[in-house]
């Protein structure tokens, strides 16, 4: 079973802080990590491979330093990695990113399953997985919390707002996974050694036969016109007194504001 996992390198948001003077994100010293949901995607792929055999290939689109995310993936035990990197990809929105990843997968060739994280923690869009599936003309199941494979059929447990759906479909298909699906493994010592000496395959726009007007800023229907920090939540108030007094004050305030 050939599985392709699409990942993204993101800044570790737990460390993102706002500079109160300039009201901007403090980026210094923020390390780049594999998007946490993509770690679940890698883990899901590795578990399926370990059970059914086959190969896991991890791909990412990004600047040259995104190779580090692929090295981390090698340390986790994936079989192959590809970095697609080109100045021409810069400024890509989710449409152009989906097109670029789909073109990369076409170049790789045969596959049974594509797995992505449900969304990236920097953009939070959840749009790229379905986009890749559409460009490749294969079905999708988003927000998977369980995956089983039986005789080429997939059985997927899908986590919705209030319910779970059990879905059956044939491969090839594209799945996005939620955090709850598994606990990602730690890199092994052997894996780390392998990652250190690994040479990362790198493809550019030409290598994947991408059409020039479908990639990067030019291929992106959407563009950012303004970025700003949301106004700080003003006037937090710590209540004082005994438990009963604090509760009385709180209930009065909530009743005054007609919320309960």
């Amino acid at each position: 079973m050939n599985i392709i996992v699409c990942i993204k390198q993101v800044p570790g948001t737990t460390q993102v802080k706002i500079n109160p003077e300039t009201n901007t994100l403090i980026r210094e010293g923020v390390e780049a990590i594999i998007n946490p949901f993509d770690e679940n995607a890698i883990e899901a792929a590795l578990q399926l491979r370990d059970k059914h055999g086959g190969k896991v290939t991890v791909i990412t689109m990004g600047p040259p330093q995104a190779a580090n995310a692929l090295k981390d993936a090698i340390a986790l035990g994936v079989d192959d990695v590809v970095l697609v990197s080109d100045r021409a990809f810069a400024g890509a929105d989710t449409w152009a990113t989906s097109y670029t990843l789909a073109s990369t997968i076409r170049k790789i060739g045969q596959f049974d399953l594509i797995i992505c994280g449900k969304q990236a923690i920097d953009g939070d869009t959840a749009q790229v997985g379905p986009g890749v599936a559409e460009f490749l003309g294969i079905p999708q199941v988003t927000f998977a919390v369980g995956i089983e494979v039986n005789n080429g059929m997939l059985k997927v447990n899908r986590l919705l707002e209030e319910t779970n759906e059990i879905i059956e479909l044939k491969m090839p298909a594209m799945l996005t996974v939620v955090k709850q699906i598994n606990t990602p493994r730690m890199p092994s010592f052997k894996g780390k050694i392998k990652a250190k000496s690994a040479i990362i395959t790198q493809w550019n726009a030409k290598d994947i036969n991408a059409e020039e007007n479908k990639i990067g800023l030019k291929g992106s229907p959407t563009s950012v016109v303004r970025i700003f920090t949301p106004p700080p939540k003003g006037g937090g108030e710590l209540l004082h007194g005994s438990a009963d007094e604090m509760i009385d004050t709180l209930v009065k305030k909530l009743r005054d504001r007609k919320v309960c």
Partner: protein
């Protein structure tokens, strides 16, 4: 396509340096220098520069004939023939946008024959036209038949704006349609406006877990599509006397689209009120110490008609099902009132609830980060405070 610093305008003030998500900007000889290997042309620095010294150079892209596209569409998501509340919210907001552009507000309703009666309601809530697509295969949402039917309708009728709720269904569907018809799609918007001059839809959304906001436009592609976060906009008020047109759309289901089958739907009986829809949420965190103590949370929630939420720690520990989880890994919520009980307020949790109108935090640790976003904070023992608060609220609410 590139980016450049206009040297004559740059004064080396360094404002752009911390804004860059990829640390691509350095100051050399009092001028900003952008490392093109690191830059992703994200657009953050041009808007941070007070001297208009950074510009993104975008060659003109072949535009679609935008004059052919008009009217605003709202996708009327339905589950078991009940239209999702977010669609009514979108009709409220869509009305304002439609009035501003002087165009019609339309809605798209898919389902089996029993869904047709909902069309009248949608007209009362503001739709001028309701496009109804009926087929047994459309009764329950699945990605491909819905994508094909709606994409074909968009190609035929050419709306200039299409709005979806940012629900699991809306996000699954809109992404697929956008890729199919080459449209721009902005995810999880919390603000929509029409630019006075260009008449473009300005879509504002949080990114980096709500740490920054971005306004996004779609200049040359049509339609302009957005998914919009539930509970951000007010529901439209119904006007039963309002007239509208119901248009039945001929449906042809492609057999290839039916290869994905929903074989079972498992209901979670612990979910009494859907978190994303709740006006009030009471959430429990690690501070409640044991799974049975969720009873305290449930009792408080019940008294004020709220939904029960939970932090990731409690879900991971198996104390409660993941349908209750609030935060980056779980759900993003913005109720009128959010009561956080025994939740320290990790940034991932805050990302999921900090846009709530009023936040009450109850925690014994005065340094817990939750107090930084709390409207009202109570430092104390939740095992004393919560039962007393429940009793008090029961009393005053009669």
């Amino acid at each position: 396509m590139s980016i450049r610093v206009i040297k004559e305008k740059c004064i080396g003030c360094k404002l752009c340096v911390p804004v860059c998500p990829t640390s691509a900007i350095t100051i050399v000889d009092k001028k900003a220098v952008i490392d093109l290997d690191k830059c992703t042309l994200c657009g953050a620095c041009p808007s941070s520069c007070k001297f208009k010294a950074i510009e993104i150079i975008n060659e003109d892209v072949q535009a679609v004939d935008k004059s052919q596209y008009k009217n605003i569409w709202v996708f009327a998501e339905q589950y078991e023939n009940n239209v999702h509340p977010v669609a009514i919210e979108l009709l409220g907001e869509g009305r304002k946008l439609a009035n501003e552009l002087k165009v019609e507000l339309c809605t798209v309703l898919l389902g089996d024959s029993s869904v047709e009666k909902e069309a009248k309601d949608l007209i009362a809530y503001g739709a001028d036209k309701v496009y109804v697509a009926i087929a047994p295969e459309l009764k329950h949402y699945t990605t491909l038949p819905y994508t094909t039917v709606i994409s074909n309708m968009i190609k035929q009728h050419k709306p200039e704006i299409v709005l979806f709720g940012a629900t699991t269904t809306g996000r699954d569907l809109a992404s697929r349609i956008a890729a199919r018809i080459n449209a721009g799609l902005t995810a999880d918007c919390t603000g929509l406006a029409i630019d006075k001059e260009t008449k473009l839809l300005q879509q504002t959304r949080p990114a980096f877990g709500g740490n920054i906001m971005a306004t996004i436009i779609c200049k040359n592609h049509r339609p302009q599509m957005s998914t919009v976060r539930p509970k951000v906009f007010k529901k439209a008020e119904p006007d039963r006397s309002k007239k509208g047109e119901v248009i039945k759309v001929p449906v042809k289901i492609d057999q290839k689209d039916l290869l994905v089958k929903v074989v079972d739907i498992i209901k979670d009986t612990s979910v009494k009120i859907n978190l994303a829809e709740a006006e009030i949420i009471v959430s429990g965190g690690r501070g409640i110490q044991a799974p049975e103590n969720f009873k305290l949370i449930e009792e408080l929630a019940e008294v004020i008609g709220g939904a029960v939420g939970a932090s990731r720690a409690t879900v991971d520990a198996g104390w409660i099902s993941s349908h209750h989880q609030v935060g980056q890994t779980g759900k993003t919520v913005c109720p009128k009132l959010y009561i956080a009980v025994g939740i320290s307020g990790a940034i991932q949790h805050l990302a999921g609830m900090q846009s709530s109108d009023i936040i009450v935090a109850i925690n014994k640790d005065p340094d817990a980060p939750i107090f930084k976003v709390a409207t009202y904070g109570i430092v104390g023992d939740l095992f004393e405070i919560v039962p007393k608060l429940t009793r008090k609220l029961k009393e005053v609410r009669g």
